[in-house]
Amino acid sequence: MFLPVSASIRQFARAVTADRMAGDELASAVMAEATREGRAAGATRAELFREFILKWCEIVDSDAPARPFSNVEYVKSLGPLPPQSRLVLLLSDICGLSQRDVEFVLAPLDKPFEELLAEGRSVVKANRGERTALIVEDEPLIAADLKDVLESMGVKVVGQARTAEQGAREAVKKMPDVVLADYNLDGQKTGVDAVVAFHERHDCPVIFITGYPDDVLRGEDVEPDFVIVKPYRPEAVQAAVAHCLDTMRFTTIDGDIANGDVQ
């Protein structure tokens, strides 16, 4: 299942930055610059992704000084693009693009697609020491499956919650490095409610898993950080978790979160 086109770019940008706000800002800034220059948005998903990546590269590589507070200054301040192996992993395993589309989007590739994807996927197995995760899922079978997927990559599941309230309590108590949450919980509250309830006290990346991406990524203020579409593939979950664990969070000046790049 594919996301709507503009939502696909937001999903990708959030994945790259492992941060909802920073990713949405990256997506809107780059697309606004492309539109301002009259560059037509691609007709297909792959064309739009290519347009986005090309414009992003152009901004990053430009020597022209950027005006303070402009879109260009924001994009340049985010630093360089991740390496191609990481982009291939995100586009292929998280955004669900086919090999042909990924080759088109990132052309010219430094190495063959298979080699880059293998390189990207190898990070999933990297030793990250004792990293922890919380699962917020009301379906016991899916929760058990997610636990297996996480444990197979050496991530310790420190808590499992079945409701938004339980999820918020567990997150504050266990302080996990990453949270995996079902978007639709117990028919009343959603995974977003759980995150809203704990994010002020524990800011960590949240990966949402949903069967209804169209309902989730609508450009509203409270949207999931990182979306994986059901039925999910274990590789997609592993890629998302590995990427979140490797990417440091952005600083909130009034808080104490450190910002940084993909390590």
């Binding site: 706000m21 920073a22 949405d24 800002e25 809107s28 800034a29 697309m31 606004a32 990546i53 992003w56 590269c57 990053v60 590589d61 005006r67 303070p68 507070f69 402009s70 879109n71 924001y74 340049k76 301040s77 985010l78 630093g79 360089p80 693009l81 191609q84 990132l106 052309a107 010219p108 590739l109 952005f250 600083t251 909130t252 000046i253 009034d254 808080g255 979160i257 910002n259 940084g260 790049d261």
Partner: protein
């Protein structure tokens, strides 16, 4: 594909928390849509830029506006 350059290899972006009243947020959003800013953050950045530029070009006016703000 390039995009490796950037002036430094690290991110130089910070999240800044600000508190505003609902009505003020409405004014920011109205400005955003009137001026077709790409996002609320982009609108706020533009408004900061405009304010700083005005401070430089017309400090007298800025001083008056600040007085009004303090008295409100």
């Amino acid at each position: 594909m390039k995009g490796e350059k950037a002036s430094t290899s690290e991110k130089r972006v910070e999240k800044l928390q600000i508190m505003v009243a609902d009505s003020e947020l409405g004014m920011i959003d109205d400005w955003r849509f009137e001026n077709r800013a790409a996002s609320r953050s982009a609108a706020i950045r533009s408004l900061i830029y405009l304010g700083l530029e005005l401070s430089k070009s017309d400090p007298e006016k800025v001083s008056k506006l600040l007085d009004q703000l303090d008295r409100a």
